[in-house]
Subunit: 356 residues, 2 copies
Amino acid sequence: MRGGNWVGVVGRRLRKQASYGSHSTSSPPEYPNILGPNLPDVWTSTTQSHRPQSSGNFSASGNTATIIDGKPIAEEIKFRIAGEIQRMKTAIGKSPGLAVVLVGQRRDSKTYINIKLRACEKVGIATVIAELPENCTESELLDVVSRFNEDPSVHGIFVQLPLPQHLDEEKIMTVVSPEKDVDGFHPLNMGNLAIKGRQPFFIPCAPKGCIELLLRFGVEIFGKRSVVIGRSKIVGLPIALLLQRHHSTVSTVHSFTKNPEQITSQADIVVSDVGIPNLVQGNWLKPGAVVIDMGTNLVKDPSSRHGFRVTGDVCYEEAIKVVSAITPVPGGVGPVIISMLLSNTLESAKRAFGFT
Amino acid sequence: MRGGNWVGVVGRRLRKQASYGSHSTSSPPEYPNILGPNLPDVWTSTTQSHRPQSSGNFSASGNTATIIDGKPIAEEIKFRIAGEIQRMKTAIGKSPGLAVVLVGQRRDSKTYINIKLRACEKVGIATVIAELPENCTESELLDVVSRFNEDPSVHGIFVQLPLPQHLDEEKIMTVVSPEKDVDGFHPLNMGNLAIKGRQPFFIPCAPKGCIELLLRFGVEIFGKRSVVIGRSKIVGLPIALLLQRHHSTVSTVHSFTKNPEQITSQADIVVSDVGIPNLVQGNWLKPGAVVIDMGTNLVKDPSSRHGFRVTGDVCYEEAIKVVSAITPVPGGVGPVIISMLLSNTLESAKRAFGFT
């Protein structure tokens, strides 16, 4: 992998042995069908056809909600990825590569990138980071992205957002090759996610993590009512599209929805990604619902060492008395999202190398 | 425009003066904002921010529902388009061109194509039709599409569906240049329709016609509950995406939805495109709702001259007693859809020629 050989870009290479150790499985394990089963819509004029209930959702049972802990799942996924990468190295002498592009010196961006780099390192994904100054030109940035597009050792390109105001984020995200768009934000990938039966190269990491958790916890999605609160292109929109591909009946609630609590209270599955602590209160939730809280909000907390704590969009204390299962924040979906980035990068490398 | 210069393809040219006559307006008239206003989602933790109601929807008033007649609107749009094309011809000596691709001899496909060709002819859009035999190879078809992609006199390419089974529809639709994809089905255009703030080159004709009718009849979409029944890539999916861009709260009902009537009965706006006559009965509808019936179904009718008649998905006789406005079938959205194809072709030509 090349890196750091152009003006204004500092490349550094991290290529280490997977710290998860070797994985003895020679064939890839079964992945859950994240895109959902491809079923024709068969309507009848008098009744709707329903698949028989193979398994119910969690039942409402007072305050015995299941806590959907993402950490062990994330660890298990990373372990599996590390094993797959080890198998790839052994078989063809190659590993996946992820290129990260950072413009400017935002501290939070650097923190996020470091978390991703460490995760890559642990599973054996080679990484290269291109750092550009805050005042770089659009053409300099596009040049960096184009080089990564051409580089056969790069299988995923990750442009850290937000970009400085003077850069056209939409344009830059569209220049990332759809085949290396491990974020899944390229409109071609989003379109192929939206259109039933089509296969995007990548599913965005947050929605993929959300569905992964639902599937692993045996939550039935098929035929269930889902409400997605928030409609960002990163989370809300692709989650709604993905839930629909799993044949859920999806409603999207947003800031201009007049009665969000009333609509949300009809849902079997609630996914929230809004950025407002405690927006979703207990009375918004149907007894027995499953809640995936994608919000990550910092709230003041004098009792905490740093003076604040991280919380989601859902009032956890109230929700836990009503719902059948819920993701805590932190520790719910968050850890799984990064493992989805690793998974997308591995998938991309497998495709590039024709490795199965 | 070239046509008919390759084996197995019969090209014919139709290039006539617009029969709508000249249009004296020199600047383009204002188009309604089909993509919806681009507003940031601003949430607050305790209340949802709502735009003040500028105008209410139609009010429920017994059986005095407004009949949304698409024919005069379609005529008005075509008149405007003809005027625009006349203005273009006068100013730069150019006109828009639409290429139609037909594989095989399906009678219904030929009928649809003829309707489109006649509509093009009337407004002054030049057309070329490539007819390929039923047993043509994929590469022959792809070659035809590629030639149209390269042809600067072609601004829109329309591949008539369905294609014979042996041809990969998905692949062929993806080969159509997104900049000439007047159908709006290319995943890149669908992705850009889905992502808030982005501009697809084209909005699919049926959804565009649906929104055009809602806007022209002054139906408030902003903040209203919408239910889209059906989720095809041609109608249901893009309509849901478009209604959401207009800040409606959208639920999509499909064949695996357990209680479609209950969900539909909450909607201020109902759009149906399922293909089941009388699926949507009176008790599915909220009093005062606005109904856009996109279904086109043939039902037996011995009293009719041909032994059948065309009907929509909605039980019109029941609905009209409940709703505030409804599109009849035939004569509602249908006529507007074709004018949207003309509008997309004109838009494309304007873009290509830099003509404003």
